[in-house]
């Protein structure tokens, strides 16, 4: 009798739940500003430290810009993940999420989207940073943006998967990098190569790498959508 007139489809509820979780995470960030006040400065600091390690020789720094950019993104991803799942571990939010009746796949997509939004903001700042500090003039804006989007999707999907896996463990902070970094190694390789191609104005090569990134992102998004339910159940 209380059944809704139109039963929303599975994918409909999934996306609605994802939007709810994403909204929650973004609101949390707007109020606490941990990513803006802590992770963002950390990412810029990493760029400065790279300059110390490699000597402020513009030639080397410009040449290594794609790799350094993505390494900085990777390190910041770890921090953003620890923040994102630290929030869930405290006060039993994971149980609350499970009891809320939200679609697990929706929770996964929402968490991943939250991390992706944070990462994209970070990438904008880091992009400005390498242009300013390393003197790397960007070319091929379409390829750069596409690479950022595809690589971020892959990082966010893998990160969310491993984030919830290691959530609530005492060794979470040390285990997460060990689990995640070797798996996202292809993202580092492909994104670096795509950026290098864009900076060298040889975009043709770069699109191949973009293809790899897109496949990686879609694959792990699919794995996350299917694997999240058993993961939430048992935690």
């Amino acid at each position: 009798m209380t059944e809704p007139l139109v039963t929303p489809s599975r994918s409909g509820t999934m996306l609605r739940d994802a939007a709810l979780v994403l909204g929650k995470d973004l609101r949390l960030e707007l109020r606490s500003r941990v990513i803006i006040n802590q992770v963002l400065p950390f990412a810029v600091l990493v760029l400065v430290l790279f300059a110390f390690a490699l000597d402020p020789d513009r030639r080397i720094l410009t040449q290594a810009t794609p790799g350094l950019f993505w390494l900085a993104v990777l390190f910041s991803t770890l921090l953003a993940l620890q923040r994102s799942f630290g929030v869930e571990a405290a006060d039993g939010v994971t149980d609350a999420l499970r009891l809320s009746g939200l679609d697990p796949a929706g929770i996964f997509l929402g968490k991943a989207a939250g991390i992706a939004v944070h990462l994209l903001a970070l990438e904008v700042v880091l992009g400005l940073g390498v242009t300013l500090f390393y003197g790397a003039t960007p070319h091929g804006p379409v390829l750069l943006v596409a690479t950022c989007v595809a690589a971020t999707a892959g990082l966010a999907a893998v990160g969310t998967l491993y984030g919830v896996l290691s959530a609530g463990m005492r060794v979470r902070d040390t285990l997460l990098p060990l689990l995640m970094l070797p798996v996202v190694a292809p993202v580092l390789i492909a994104a670096t190569q795509a950026f290098a191609a864009a900076y060298d104005k040889t975009s043709g090569e770069g699109w191949r790498w973009f293809g790899l990134l897109a496949v990686f992102g879609l694959l792990y998004l699919a794995i996350g959508i299917f694997a999240f339910e058993p993961l939430l159940e048992e935690s």
Partner: protein, 280 residues
Amino acid sequence: MNTDTKGPGSGAGLFRVYPGGTASRGSRTFGIVLAIATAVFLAFALLWSPPDSGANASENQMGEMVRIMYIHVPVANACYLAFFVTALGSVMYLWKKTDGWDLLAAASAEVGVVFTVLTLATGSIWGHIAWGTWWEWDARLTSTLLMLVVYLGYLALRRAILDPVVRAQRAAIVGLIAFANVPIVHYSVTWWRGLHQQATISRFDPTIDGLKLFSLLFGMLVGVGFYVWLMMHRFRLEYAEAKLESKGLDVALAERRAEAMADTAVDTTGGTLIGPKGTN
């Protein structure tokens, strides 16, 4: 009574916990056969098969160096087999939810890590002789190293979770992802190196025939034999550990209960509030 083992395929034999250790008559016989086979194999690999030189040599002309191939290839083969079994155990656990599959995946990952380290070590020794460097950023070496780290992470995750059900569930998912990741890493690393240099001379596939081919195939068989033998022991140990874990909990509960009973028995006159006084 515990001497009957029906071989690696039979659950009854494998699931039995032996009081004297992880060996049974079956695994002992298998071990002796394996030891003899290893001795014969080493004779083939090190003495009887010809060096890679002269008229029948392959294009790479590896000379005596070719002999490390007889160890390296079987060991690498066994590590892929081991990780395949881990993935299989993970899938089957997610499907059937029986502990045996989880234990199989865990045991196989551990044995696989040992074989991967041996693969990297023998590959590195070969590289030192062939290229003059212990490490080359070759596609195969690099992706094997990454695979090793992924499975070290798998084992670390297993150690970090105490609840057996949660551990099995999460490990199964990581075991699956780890296996799915192998081709992605291999593909991307090959592509990455391919852009900078063409195929290096790391290829271990010279055209071989006759005694050399026989030694290699025999070595593969011995490598798989070692994997099976190690797995028999590791699996039984894993199973015994799991039993001890659950038994340990029962024993601790019983001890605690006995303590509580003793306390109440002593404390009959005091009338304190501690202990389930008067309960059965």
